[in-house]
Symmetry: C2
C-alpha cells in the first residue's frame, strides 16, 4: 500500500484537519467527532441540508459545504456509514428552526443510521425529512444495497436542493425538489482499477492487465460484467445507452451532464469521455444544457469514471444555475 | 496501458473537443490546431495572457481560460512543447492591441518555441512580452530544462497576472506583477508512481512497491533521490523545509499555499498533506492567507503531489483575491 497517509486509523481525522486548515472561510468542525458544518450554520430562516456517508469519496461530501449547497457533512470511516450519533449532532448544529433535509445515498448502513438520527432529532422537536438517492442504473441490489446504489448523481441533489433552500423555500418544498432531481437523474460507472481501503492495506479485488469492470460501484461493488478494455468511445456509448434506456428522454429534452472521475483517471481522459457523451446526446436530439467534468464523487485512488445525466425542466435549470460557493463547486 | 482513450495519436484532439463541448461559455477552439482561447477574446482594452505547453497536465492550461486568468492556451502533444506556429496563432487571436504576455514554464522546448512565436508576432507589430516560471526548487537543470523547472506555481502566475490584466493594467505592469509572483513562489513535488505517455504505451520509469521519488518533475524527470515511503507528515516536512530553505521567509510573512495532486492521488491524501503544511508554517510564525488543495498541474495518471508556497504582499493578496471565472478555478 503506497499512500500519502500517516496511520491508517487516522486518515479521516487527518483529512478533516487538513480541510479545516484549507477552508476556514467555508466550514468548521464540530467538537463531536468527524462532522463538518457550514461556517455560519445555523443560518436563520433557512432550511438546512445534511449529507455524508463513508469517507473516501472526496470532495463528497464536505467539499460541498457552503452557500447554495450543504450545511452539514458527516464523515464515517473509509467506506463505512457514519453513526446515528454523528448525524444527529450534525442535524442539531445546523437546524435554524426551519427544519433539516437529509440527503442519503442508498446504502443499507447509511439509510439505517440516518433514519435513526432523524428519529433522535424528531424527539427533540426538530423537523427532519430525508431523501434517498439511487441513481446508479447498473445493477439492482448490490453488496451494501437493496435497490439501486447512490453515486455521483447525488451531487446534483446537493446543488439543486441546496439552491432551493438558499432561496428560502420550506422544508416540504426543498424535499420536493430533491425528489424531483432523484426521479430525473441516472448514472453509470466503470472501473479500470481497484482501490485500497487504508485499514485493509490491500486491494479488495483485482482486474487483469487489460480488463475493466462495467457498472462497478463506488466501493468496488460488482458491476454488470468484466471485459477487455475497449475504446473510450465504445465504453462511453455503453454507459450512456444504459442510462438512456432507463431514462427514456424524449427528443428535444434538455439535460445536465456530469462526467465524474473516480480519482485515478486523468482529467484528459474525462474530457475524452465527455466528447462522446456530447456527441451521442446531440445525435439523439437531446440538448446538453450544462456539463460538469471533474472529480465529484471519488473512490479512493480507483481509476475509472461515471456518467450522470439529469433531465431538466425550467425549475431545475434555474436552481442548477443559481450561485453556489463551496470548496469543490462554485457557480457564479 | 489501460486508459480511457481512443487512438493514442488523437488524445489531444479528442480532449479538446470534449473541453469545447463541456465549456462553450468559457472557451472556443481556433481553426488552426490545438489552440483554445477565451470565448470573447480579444477583449477590448485588455492585455492578453497566453500560456500552454505539452498536454497531460490538465487542467493546465486551458482550464484557466476565462475572466481574470488566461486568454489563450496552446496545447502541444503529450509532454511536448507546442510549435511556434501554434503559439503565434494564439497571440494573434487574443491581442486587442494592448499586447500579450506569454507565461512559459521553464522547459527548453517551450522557451525556444514561445520565443520564436514572440518574434513572429513582433514582426506583425504585436507587442509581446514573456516571463519564464521556474518554481521547482528540487533540482537545478534537468532532463528538459536548463535551470529550475516550472511546475504548479505557474497557476499562481496565471491567477495574479490575469487579475492585473483584467483590471486594465498595461503590458509592462502585467509583466512586472508576473515576475513578482515568479520571484516569490517556490514548489517541490514527489511521486508515488510513474505515468504512461499514450504514444509510448508504457511507463517511462518504474518505482518499487514501497518506493517513492522525491523532487520528481511533472514529466517524470528525476528528482533528488528515491526512498522507501515514509509517513505523509515526514514527506511533507521534507518538501516544505526544502522550499523554506530556498525562500527564507521572515517570521510574520503571509503566504498562499497550493497542495497540488499529480492526478493519481486522492483528494483525501492531499488534505492530509495540507494538514502538515499548515502546521509547519504556523509553527514557524508564517501566516497562511489562502490555501488551494486539488489538481491544478497534473502529470497524466501519476500519483503524488507538489507543494507550492507563494510569499504575499498587499498587491499580491488583492490580486489573488480578485474574481476569477474559469472551468478549473473560480473565485467569487
Amino acid at each position: 500500500m503506497k499512500k500519502l497517509i500517516n496511520k491508517p486509523e487516522y486518515v479521516v481525522e487527518d483529512m478533516i484537519a487538513g480541510m479545516v486548515a484549507a477552508h476556514p472561510e467555508y466550514l468548521r468542525k464540530l467538537d463531536a467527532g468527524n462532522i463538518l458544518v457550514r461556517k455560519n450554520a445555523p443560518i436563520k430562516g433557512k432550511v438546512a441540508l445534511v449529507s455524508g456517508g463513508g469517507s473516501g469519496h472526496e470532495p463528497s461530501h464536505a467539499g460541498y459545504l457552503g452557500k447554495g449547497m450543504l450545511d452539514g457533512a458527516v464523515a464515517g470511516a473509509v467506506f463505512t456509514s457514519p453513526t446515528p450519533d454523528q448525524v444527529y449532532e450534525a442535524i442539531k448544529a445546523v437546524d435554524s428552526g426551519e427544519g433539516v433535509l437529509l440527503v442519503i445515498k442508498n446504502y443499507t448502513g447509511d439509510v439505517m443510521n440516518f433514519d435513526m438520527a432523524k428519529e433522535m432529532a424528531e424527539m427533540e422537536e426538530i423537523k427532519v425529512e430525508s431523501v434517498i438517492v439511487n441513481d446508479d442504473v447498473a445493477v439492482e441490489n448490490s453488496t451494501y444495497t437493496a435497490g439501486r446504489r447512490g453515486i455521483a448523481g447525488t451531487v446534483f441533489v446537493h446543488k439543486i436542493a441546496g439552491a432551493k433552500a438558499e432561496k428560502g423555500a420550506s422544508l416540504k418544498e426543498v424535499k420536493a425538489v430533491a425528489e424531483k432531481v432523484i426521479d430525473n437523474v441516472r448514472s453509470m460507472g466503470m472501473a479500470l482499477s481497484s482501490c485500497i481501503v487504508p485499514a485493509a492495506g490491500k486491494a479488495n479485488f483485482s482486474l487483469g492487465e487489460d480488463e475493466v469492470e462495467i457498472g462497478m460501484g463506488i466501493h468496488g461493488e460488482p458491476g454488470t460484467h468484466r471485459e477487455t478494455i475497449k475504446t473510450a468511445d465504445e465504453i462511453t456509448e455503453h454507459l450512456v445507452n444504459r442510462i438512456l434506456e432507463d431514462m427514456k428522454p424524449e427528443e428535444g429534452s434538455e439535460v445536465a451532464v456530469m462526467v465524474n472521475g473516480l480519482s485515478g483517471t486523468p482529467l484528459m481522459e474525462l474530457y475524452i469521455v465527455n466528447k462522446k457523451v456530447n456527441e451521442i446526446l446531440t445525435s439523439k436530439g437531446i440538448k446538453v444544457y450544462k456539463t460538469f467534468v471533474g472529480e465529484f464523487m471519488t473512490s479512493l485512488e480507483m481509476a475509472g469514471c461515471s456518467v450522470s445525466i439529469l433531465k431538466l425542466d425550467d425549475e431545475l435549470k434555474e436552481l442548477l444555475d443559481a450561485p453556489a460557493d463551496t470548496p469543490a463547486l462554485k457557480l457564479l
